[in-house]
């Protein structure tokens, strides 16, 4: 099986470049790149994704990395993975299990063995399968030699040594040469899927402009890997995945966190006010701050505060002073922001609070995905403190939901919580690029000139929103604060009746947002039996699972919520059409319980997973089928 001899002559690259080897066309493929956290698997995965995206495939990705930057080398705890699902059709999620596993060491193999498709292709670096490595990973015998991998197609390559040989002439030190083995591997994978190398080569030329030797090393390794796969005819055929049938337009690959950041940039532009972000680093939300801080050219003011409390408080100050103010965080940081969110509710200032959820409670599972901060978002404050809560559903639509969160905040003078998830923030998919022209204007409720009759808590009849009078406006000085205010004058008031009136106004104000959002939609107009309900980032997987059963003619429908509080007005009407309602979420039933509280007339079944992992299509289909078969 092993061809240790390598031919270094470079054939032409590209999809059409391979002559004799048989090509098989596939609908979609899931590849998982797995290795030690220092092995560069995230980069290999990202570069592969970029190429497939540019080739027009539908894609969805799921990076999965350990929370320690450098967990003990060679152990299962230290395995970093990047899963990419790409295809012509049917790509709604990063995929349940890989068709191809790249395992850079025994630990990477061990970590993924329980979850592989039948007949999965496994690409391993045999150089890292020494006795010690095998023990460290927790295998008793060498899995390449015993029966462990009997059911799979294994491609063994001495990747580390071949990479070093390929780079021998560059005079790199051992470590630097070693670092390039991820590109050798990527080259092999590119060959397997008949993907071109140009994109990746261009990436390295650009990235290492100032250190061309490094760039060259990566490129040589990449080409060497490609040629090696070709030479050994790694698998008797190579595969082609045709471009997806997508809407016409210009696309780019985007992660959820990047899309969130860009959505805010666009929203601020459309509102005609500067963007202000006050934030404190926390996984998996930090990348939003990283992204925005690059765009000072666009006027983005990014303030790295001393903690999450200062993050939100600076945003509240910026909102008071007339900026489009946001703060970004994850669960533990959200807990710290709680009191300040109450202040924003009380002072009715427009801010957006983003929670890129991770596994909790406490520090929990920093790098894993979960949807368990929903109750915290809806109700987690002292006092009667209603707030608008919305959520994104795919990496790319984080753009739209960041934009929408900002629109609601500014047009209703209210704080808004936007929930995304680790799974969305780090995941990527093609985004059909929006131009600023096609986005609606956002109209902040500013009052810029003197109005003698105005009081700070006067509101309009429709939305119950107060006006935004920004410091600097002559003859409109006023004071706001966290103490209860008189309904009319806006002065501090401890009057009992007034408090009840104000509590009710704040409640109505949030409820009335429902008059300004689209109706809830669902898929499966003829179905009657089972309605699958989802929210947040599990959209793609839920959609995929329902879709498959619908194709089989099953009596099933699907509705997915982005507006959580308030719910779209026609929610009850949709629910009333079905015998059974199944709420699927990555927590212990928080959305189900919320629905029980606000729409108690329905019975809700639950499907929950709390493993720090997304759903799989398979487990969902099993659950749906079981409910469809039960009476």
């Amino acid at each position: 099986m092993l061809l240790r001899h390598v031919c270094w002559q470079l054939p032409p690259f590209g999809r059409a470049g391979v002559g004799l080897i048989m090509k098989t066309t596939l609908e979609s493929v899931v590849i998982k790149f797995a290795g030690d956290s220092g092995d560069g698997m995230q980069l290999a995965g990202t570069l592969f994704t970029d190429t497939t995206a540019v080739m027009g495939n539908a894609i969805a990705t799921f990076p999965d990395f350990p929370s320690e930057i450098r967990a003990p080398q060679g152990t299962v705890a230290g395995v970093s993975g990047f899963q990419v699902h790409f295809g012509t059709s049917g790509v709604h999620s990063p995929g349940d299990a890989p068709d191809v596993l790249v395992a850079m060491n025994p630990a990477a193999l061990k970590a993924n063995l329980h979850n592989l498709k039948p007949a999965c292709i496994i690409l391993v670096d045999v150089d890292s399968f020494g006795k010690k490595d095998i023990e460290k990973a927790g295998f008793e015998t060498n899995p390449l030699e015993d029966n462990t991998l009997l059911d799979y197609k294994v491609i063994e390559g001495p990747i580390t040594s071949l990479t070093k040989t390929a780079l021998a002439d560059l005079g790199l030190d051992n470590k630097s040469a070693d670092r390039c083995k991820n590109m050798f591997t990527l080259g092999m994978v590119f060959w397997l899927f008949s993907e071109p190398l140009e994109q990746t080569i261009a990436f390295f030329e650009q990235k290492f402009k100032k250190n061309p030797i490094k760039g060259e090393a990566n490129i040589i390794a990449l080409k060497a890997g490609y040629n090696y796969a070709l030479t050994i005819e790694a698998i008797k055929s190579s595969f082609t995945v045709l471009p997806a049938k997508k809407q016409a337009g210009t696309y780019r690959n985007i992660t959820g966190n990047q899309a969130t950041a860009w959505g805010f940039l666009a929203a601020a532009k459309k509102a005609g006010k500067p963007l202000f972000l006050g934030s404190y680093p926390i996984t998996p939300a930090t990348d939003i701050m990283h992204e925005l801080t690059k765009h000072k050219w666009a006027g983005a003011k990014v303030f790295q505060a001393e903690d999450e409390i200062a993050g939100i408080c600076s945003s509240i100050g910026a909102a008071f002073a007339g900026n489009v103010a946001i703060t970004t965080t994850s669960g533990p940081g959200m807990a710290l922001k709680t009191e300040a969110i109450g202040l924003a509710i009380m002072t009715e200032l427009p801010i957006v609070i983003v929670n890129v959820q991770r596994g909790g409670p406490s520090t929990g599972l920093p790098t894993k995905t979960e949807q368990s901060d929903l109750m915290q978002a809806i109700w987690g404050r002292n006092g009667e403190s209603p707030i608008v809560v919305i959520s994104a559903s795919t990496p790319a639509d984080c753009f739209d939901w960041a934009f929408e969160a900002t629109r609601i905040a500014l047009e209703h003078m209210t704080p808004v919580i936007l929930l995304t998830e680790s799974y969305l923030g780090n995941g990527a998919e093609p985004w059909k690029i929006k131009s600023l022209n096609e986005l609606p204007d956002i109209k902040p409720l500013t009052l810029e000139t003197k109005d003698a009759s105005w009081r700070p808590y006067n509101r309009d009849d429709e939305k119950l929103a107060r006006k935004w009078v920004i410091p600097g406006t002559p003859e409109m000085q006023h004071r706001i604060g966290g103490l209860e205010k008189d309904e009319c004058s806006g002065c501090v008031s401890h009057n009992p009746q007034n408090h009840e009136i104000m509590v009710n106004i704040r409640k109505q104000k949030v409820a009335r947002v429902a008059n300004f959002i689209p109706e809830q939609r669902y898929k499966g107009k003829d179905a009657k039996k089972l309605l699958v309900v989802g929210w947040g980032g599990q959209f793609g997987i839920l959609f995929g699972a329902v879709n498959e059963l619908q194709k089989e003619g099953k009596d099933i429908a699907f509705t997915h919520f982005n507006y959580i509080n308030p719910l779209p007005k026609n929610t009850a009407e949709i629910f009333s059409k079905f015998d059974k309602i199944l709420v699927c979420e990555l927590n212990d039933g928080q959305f189900a319980n919320y629905l029980r509280a606000v729409l108690p007339q329905f019975k809700y079944e639950q499907y929950n997973k709390i493993q720090g992992l997304p759903f799989t299509v398979k487990e969902l289909k099993n659950k749906f089928t079981q409910l469809l078969e039960e009476k």
Partner: protein
């Protein structure tokens, strides 16, 4: 611009709002608000250009009583809110009002970071060495052994020295003033507003209800001459009846001397330099304690250093001028894109 040569926009009282002031009769806060109004008038501040941001505590009710923009925020966090206000609109004159509990206990983190960053706003710290609003618990500035409602047997912890804390946090402007001297308070606040960067003014404030006369040894009329050294930049450090006493350096220590005794002349007396980069002498002045020394008052440190909001804004301007993107559309279309035609 010298305020005195101009027609003042507003008289001090014009800065008062229509709200009834609700501090206890005799509370030191009244004198402080008078001083602030006086300073605003002297500075010719337009009411609409002022934002007063406070935390929670008796002192933090302050913004309600001023006819400027005001924000009564949450306990301990006004420094962070004020930071957001200033970064959002650097044109505003931002004043933060806070208590010793608000800034040094719950808000200690924000306090030191605001100072460290040297953001350009004025922080008036009402130090009554007690929690007033919650009715009399000891605070981080209460002296060791202090008996309060939450320390019936006396505290067993040592207090912060506000000035030392501020200088330790890289503070570039620190002043200390007694609430009994409206004129000095107003002068210092004018200096604070003129200083670029964070200006911290610690007011020794009397809480008549829960900590009456805690500063009396320093602030009482009969003690003023001997127990206060009112510092002025460029002037010798003289105090006492008829300015008969002064400070000089003896080795690495400060020493109180009497002018005219043992051949000491005014020439031997230290001259105050608030603006020197080194804060060593400023720290020594802050550390002076009764009865051996008088308490240093006035602007103790007033030095130049890079200002956070200015750097923050300049970086944005610079990025705007040098960016390869002209619009968000440019950004969205940059890098790897691919087009699908049908």
């Amino acid at each position: 611009m010298e305020a005195t040569t101009l027609q003042c926009l507003y008289k001090p009282k014009d800065y008062a709002s229509d709200q009834e002031v609700k501090w206890c009769p005799g509370c030191g806060d009244y004198a402080i608000i008078n001083a602030v109004q006086k300073a605003f008038s002297e500075l010719n501040l337009k009411k609409e250009d002022v934002a007063i941001i406070s935390g929670i505590g008796c002192s933090s009710r302050f913004p309600y009583y001023m006819d400027t923009y005001g924000f009564h925020t949450i306990h301990g966090r006004p420094a962070a809110v004020a930071t957001g206000v200033k970064l959002a609109n650097p044109e505003l004159s931002v004043w933060m009002i806070s208590g010793d509990g608000d800034s040094l206990a719950i808000g200690g983190n924000h306090f030191i970071h605001a100072i460290r960053r040297n953001i350009n706003y004025n922080l008036i710290l009402f130090n009554n060495e007690i929690y007033g609003l919650t009715k009399g618990q000891y605070s981080p500035t209460s002296e060791r052994g202090k008996i309060t409602k939450s320390s019936p047997f006396g505290t067993v912890e040592s207090p912060f020295s506000v000035g030392e804390l501020a200088l330790g946090a890289q503070g570039q402007f620190y002043a200390r003033v007694p609430d009994t001297d409206v004129k000095l308070m107003a002068q210092v606040m004018v200096e604070a507003e003129k200083h670029q960067g964070l200006s911290l003014v610690e007011v020794l404030q009397n809480c008549v209800i829960f900590n009456d006369k805690t500063h009396a040894a320093i602030t009482a009329k009969e003690n003023k001459a001997n127990n206060q050294l009112i510092l002025e930049h460029g002037k010798p450090m003289l105090f006492g009846e008829n300015n008969s006493k002064g400070l000089r350096l003896n080795g690495l220590e400060l020493e109180v001397v009497t002018v005219g005794e043992n051949g000491i002349t005014t020439a031997d007396i230290l001259v105050h330099d608030a603006s020197t980069k080194s804060n060593v002498l400023h720290n020594m002045l802050i550390q002076m304690k009764l009865p051996e020394f008088p308490i240093a008052m006035g602007v103790i440190r007033n030095a130049d250093a890079p200002v956070f909001d200015q750097g923050f804004t300049a970086q944005i301007q610079q990025q705007k001028a040098s960016s390869k993107y002209n619009s968000l559309d440019d950004l969205f279309m940059s890098g790897n894109t691919f087009t699908i035609n049908t």
